[in-house]
């Protein structure tokens, strides 16, 4: 039993003898014992762990909900932007389906988000505060602006009511859309998950590229070939940006990029690459054929979904293995120590 007590004035009655020294042997007093080189606990190698248990706690988000949310958010935002452009340049055949897509996707993404809450009935607690330090809070407010605009645009399109206001709403949604596509990158990168955090510079470009590819793909499937030119270009360019950003990201991340190449996440990322590149080629080559366009469009959409699920799975894998947490931090410490030594 602890006899000391803590009062507002400080600690009272602390026991003496707290200074008991572990393993002390005064005979050698003053001499520092060097730490053993290797005790078999893997310390001779670059890092030690606590029985190989992860340092970080498991991500509790469900992949279907949150990776799906990332995918649908990207699709919705880029679709709105594309629809606004189509509207302004007189391509109603492209604008109409993309407006519906945007509404469906944002509704789906919101449903996925709410479904993933441990307490879905408390979704509205998100609206209590506005915190720029929390991308989820910022994102909620972006969606609060974007959702009604996308909804109004699609509703007026479908019913023909208030076409002027509907157009305006569509343009507004197009302006906010890119924020919807991009904010999900800080959302996942602003965590301690190594495979996400270390990629925070490139992830927004991966995500907007992936969103543009999906929206372009949707436009290629739904719009007549004569009006789908911008969708094809957006799809192909989006796929190119996504793959380029991923390549840069993996190179800069070093060992933490491993989950993007191995395991289930690696498989998903490879599938994403094949689908987006194939889709991009189809988008450029098949500009006269509705069938080729539709197949290429579907490949772009599927590729975009694979990217999001792959990134999500890579994050999970990087949490499960303590190596990805410990080794980069150890190296950082070592580099800092070396730099300090050099300064001396």
């Amino acid at each position: 039993m602890n006899t000391s007590d803590v009062t507002k004035e400080g600690i009272r009655g602390a026991r003496p003898g707290r200074e008991a020294v572990t393993g002390a042997d005064s005979a050698l007093g003053g001499q520092r014992r060097e730490r053993p080189a290797d005790d078999g606990g893997g310390r001779g190698s670059e890092f030690g762990t606590y029985y190989d248990r992860p340092v970080l706690n498991r991500i509790t988000w469900r992949p279907r909900d949150i990776a799906g949310y990332l995918f649908l958010g990207g699709l919705a935002g880029a679709s709105s932007a594309l629809a606004a452009g189509a509207d302004l340049t007189g391509r109603p055949g492209l604008a109409r389906p993309l407006r519906y897509t945007a509404l469906a996707a944002v509704t789906g993404s919101l449903a996925a988000l709410v479904n993933d809450l441990g307490r879905p009935d408390r979704f509205l607690h998100m609206l209590r505060v506005m915190k720029w330090t929390s991308p989820m809070s910022v994102g909620t407010w972006i969606l609060v602006c974007y959702g009604p605009l996308a909804g109004a645009a699609a509703a007026s399109q479908a019913t023909g009511v208030l076409p002027g206001a509907g157009r305006l709403a569509g343009l507004g949604a197009g302006a906010v859309g890119p924020a919807v596509s991009a904010y999900t990158a800080p959302l996942i990168c602003n965590t301690a998950v190594p495979a996400w955090h270390e990629g925070y510079r490139e992830m927004p470009f991966v995500f907007v590229g992936s969103g543009a590819a999906a929206a372009g793909g949707m436009g290629m499937i739904t719009a007549p070939v004569g009006q789908a030119g911008p969708a094809r270009r957006a799809g192909a360019a989006g796929a190119a940006v996504e793959n380029a950003a991923l390549a840069v990201m993996e190179r800069r991340m070093g060992m933490v990029a491993e989950p993007y190449r191995t395991g289930r996440s690696g498989t998903l990322m490879r599938a994403a690459k094949a689908l987006t590149i194939g889709g991009a080629v189809g988008a450029l080559a098949g500009r006269r054929s509705r069938a080729v366009s539709a197949i290429a469009g579907a490949a772009l959409i599927a590729g975009s979904a694979c990217t999001r699920f792959g990134v999500f799975a890579a994050g999970q894998a990087s949490v499960a293995d303590p190596r990805y947490t410990v080794v980069p931090q150890r190296r950082r410490l070592r580099d800092r120590e070396q730099a300090a030594q050099q300064e001396e």
């Binding site: 602890n2 042997d25 053993p36 762990t49 706690n57 988000w61 408390r122 209590r128 800080p186 543009a212």
Partner: protein, 286 residues
């Protein structure tokens, strides 16, 4: 206010785990064997707010003299070696005996000065108290789970049947009543010390000096430095080995330190998307 956990005097009795559960009515978290050591709670989470780690090592704890103070002529001490499933000494080849130490450490939420969990919480459920600690308001938390991967120490967890997240509150209710937290109160060796952080830091420095002088060169303070990646821990530790051996990250950084840069990158990407989509409408009309 905060904790200083001096793991060099921890005896692994788990009184802190039990006291915490009892006081805070934390539900049972699986009466499991982890099959790796006497650790049966595995790590911190929604239902484990104090976790005692057990580490078995072939290493001397300091410059230990096992024979000190034995009467003249007494038999030599028997080396029991590492714990195993055989009777002691049954397979005593050269390196199965000898130096052996057991490290025990009671882990807890660090109550970071720059707390990632608090920063990312989109409902404002996590907040900083008047004692400088970090606490979840359970009636606000909507279970979004964002704080879980944000915590660089793997502390906070989601209770599955409930959906909300839970973690150490540093006994917010007890502090309000002028009492020390339940774990510190229960600790029989004063391994867990509660108090004013400045005072605890002083005490820790003194203890570290003492251990170093006594030859325990591996002793180090963890989370004490207010200049580290999380601005210093409200619960810091004296460890006898590297932090990762205890399951702690060696150089944790609050994730929101890079957030301004993340927002800038995202803004550029969003602008690029808008510009790119605009560009797709230029040129040929097809």
């Amino acid at each position: 206010m905060g904790f200083f956990t001096d793991t060099s005097v921890c005896i692994g009795c788990k009184a802190c785990e039990v006291a915490c559960k009892e006081w805070n009515l934390v539900p049972e978290d699986g009466l499991d064997f982890t099959a790796m050591s006497f650790d049966n709670s595995g790590g911190l989470g929604a239902d484990t707010w104090r976790h005692v780690a057990f580490i078995e090592q072939r290493a001397p704890i300091g410059v230990q003299e096992t024979g000190v103070g034995r009467p003249e002529g007494a038999p030599d001490p028997v080396d029991l070696g590492m714990p195993s499933f055989e009777p002691p000494g049954a397979s005593a080849d050269g390196d199965a005996t000898g130096e052996f130490r057991w490290l025990m450490s009671s882990d807890v939420c660090k109550h970071c000065t720059h707390a990632a969990c608090l920063d990312v919480c989109p409902t404002g459920s996590l907040f900083r108290t008047e004692y400088g600690t970090v606490v979840v308001q359970e009636d606000i938390c909507n279970g979004c789970g964002y704080c879980v991967p944000a915590c660089p120490y793997g502390v906070i967890g989601q209770r599955e049947d409930d959906g909300r997240v839970f973690k150490c509150t540093l006994c917010y209710d007890r502090l309000g009543a002028g009492m020390e937290p339940a774990c510190a109160k229960a600790c029989p060796t004063d391994s867990i010390q509660f108090g004013d952080l400045d005072e605890l830091r002083e005490r820790a420095d003194e203890r570290l000096r003492g251990l170093h002088e006594a030859g325990v060169g591996s002793a180090q303070l963890y989370g004490r430095d207010p200049g580290d990646g999380v601005g210093g821990d409200g619960a810091f530790f004296l460890l006898l080995d590297e932090p990762e051996v205890y399951g702690l990250p060696p150089d944790p950084v609050v994730t929101t330190r890079d957030l301004p840069s993340m927002w800038r990158h995202a803004a550029v990407a969003a602008g690029a998307l808008l510009a790119g989509i605009t560009a797709t409408f230029l040129g040929r009309r097809r």
